[in-house]
């Protein structure tokens, strides 16, 4: 593990009119690291990743990639710098084939001048290869994404991001809508991608999913970083408490007889 973070966000603040969505959030991710970003609904996770992905521009604070200060004007900019985001529900278009989804926006072409046509042969071949690498054997790459399970869709999106040169991969609650087995598949995919040296920012509010693959954990609450911990420094219960803001939840989970 190298010491220079792939991406480093320092004291990010973001205001929407009178609303302070982020009030000083700092997160960094090293190559091959999975950094889990935890927080309850409304903690500012979405705003934060959208800032990282170039959708929002921070009101103040600094973004550095490989130690260099950068500014993302739009998502395309961020993508060009190697920051790719996989959104929970917006990753794929169900009516389109796996191949067409995989290459969407970056379709391979052959030919010259005005006669440049899709290179479907190459597109299909690479899609099948990349999916196999992620542990999914597609029978054929022209089947619609709608026929895939939720976990497989996330995997296609992750494979796509990695293939197109993502160095930092932001995963927005990739497991929140999935069943147990599919969740396990997606977590395995995350592990596989991490081993290739890609830095992963894994957003979730499920502590167990985070514990399964995370190297470091940062908890957001009310637009602020509550703190960052390494693997093994915190117990799941402690993380859970930090996310929910402590006392009340402890009381609640006590009355329910266990960790939520």
């Amino acid at each position: 593990m190298a010491d220079t973070p792939l991406i480093e966000l320092i004291d990010i603040k973001k205001q929407f009119g009178p609303v302070i969505a982020l009030n000083g959030v700092s997160v960094s991710v090293l190559p091959g690291e999975c950094h889990c970003l935890l927080g309850d609904n409304g903690a500012g996770k979405s705003t934060f990743i959208k800032t990282m992905a170039g959708v929002h521009r921070p009101t103040s604070g600094e973004i550095r990639m490989n130690g260099q200060k950068v500014e993302f004007a739009n998502p395309r900019d961020a993508m060009a710098s190697g920051v790719a985001t996989v959104y929970q529900d917006l990753a794929m278009i169900p009516l389109m084939s796996v191949t067409r989804n995989f290459w969407m926006g970056r379709e391979p072409r052959k030919g010259w001048g005005p006669f440049q046509f899709l290179d479907m042969e190459k597109a299909n071949r690479i899609t099948l290869e990349e999916m196999r690498r992620m542990g999914i054997n597609l029978r054929e790459s022209d089947q619609a994404v709608g026929t895939l399970s939720g976990g497989e869709r996330q995997t296609v999106a992750i494979a796509r991001a990695v293939y197109f040169g993502a160095k930092v991969l932001i995963l927005d609650e990739p497991t929140s809508a999935l069943g147990v087995r599919q969740t396990a598949n997606v977590l395995a995919t995350i592990d596989r991608v991490r081993k290739t040296g890609v830095g992963i920012i894994f957003i979730t509010h499920n502590v167990r999913h985070a514990m399964a693959v995370g190297d470091r954990f940062t908890v957001l609450n009310r637009g602020k970083t509550l703190g960052t911990a390494r693997k093994g420094e915190l117990k799941p219960e402690e993380l859970q408490d930090m996310m929910a803001g402590g006392a009340e939840l402890a009381e609640l989970s006590g009355s329910l007889g266990g960790t939520i």
Binding site: P75, R76, M79, T85, Y87, L90, A91, M92, I93, P94, L95, M96, R100, W103, M104, G105, R106, E107, R109, Q116, F117, L118, M120, R132, G135, I136, N137, L138, R139, Q143, A144, G146, T147, S149, E152, A184, A188
Partner: protein
Amino acid sequence: MVEQPSGAVAADERIQRQSALRRAFVRPELGAMTGTVLVFIYFAIVAGGTGMFAADGVMNWGVVSAQFVIIAVGACLLMIAGEFDLSVGSMIGFAGIVIALLSVHLGWPMWASIIAAFIVAMLIGMANGYLVIKTGLPSFIVTLASLYILRGLTIYFAIATTRQTIIGGVREAAAGDWLAQLFGGKIFGFFFTWLADMGWIATFQAGNKAGQPVVDGIPMLMVWAVALVIFAHILLTRTRFGNWIYAAGGDARAARYVGVPVDRVKIAMFVFSAFCATVFATCQVMEFGSAAADRGLLKEFEAIIAVVIGGALLTGGYGSVIGAALGALIFGVVQQGLFFAGVESSLFRVFLGVILLLAVILNTYIRRLITGER
């Protein structure tokens, strides 16, 4: 987590579901293909002896179908991109009047009038698209407004300048014009003369055309229809831009997130829809030798119906140009076929309503198959 042999997990999960039949079924064109075959079988039986399938009969429904095809192609790409254009019919009337006014009333050369009509119509198409994108309103409403605005302006301009809603004299103005030939001419005349000489197609028996074949060439309208279908089909299925059309209609936000210029794609499709309407208008004006302010009435709906029969989803993201063309063919064959078969022509509308309903139900079902919705 138990480690499973790689590959085994994913492979068996998926194979079970799709039977060969179901896979054949899940094609946008399938309904239209079946419909086309059924329609031809039906009319071969009820109207086989009426001359519907003789050369002039074929030309009769062929021309009508080609008209539907031209506007259906534009509507098809636009619908796949997730939008509607209800101003197509008004655009047809408008473009026709622009050509006639410029050429007959103002004395412009015909080629310049035609080019001007294309430019104006496509600018209006662009304005439609721009408004839809910028306001975020449904294209249904925005283009409904253009439907009324354009129709009103068409009648107003026609009356304000010539005091009538029909402007004649276009044929005379177009005589010898190179560009007019591209819309009003006919090709392969020699071929039909040859066919008649060989006795394979009928000739006129009396009148000043006696001895000439009943069909004297392929009208440019049909050439345009075929060319537009080929162009749009290749654009949609074989190019990068085609993938963006699907993506823009399938899920505009998801497409934007991966860098597809959704706004540009949608506006371009509005422009293309206007282009197709103007091709239709120009061919019609050249054929009739006149322009009328009420031309193109209801064409927007007929185009949309043809596209839906062709298997496209009203919600966008799915459909086929070939399907839309077949939908238009069904449209044309039935409309003219009922006439050949001697059926009361008002029943055509009944047929249309019924087939539209069936097509939408079938499409919704196919959509469920693809997306796995229940």
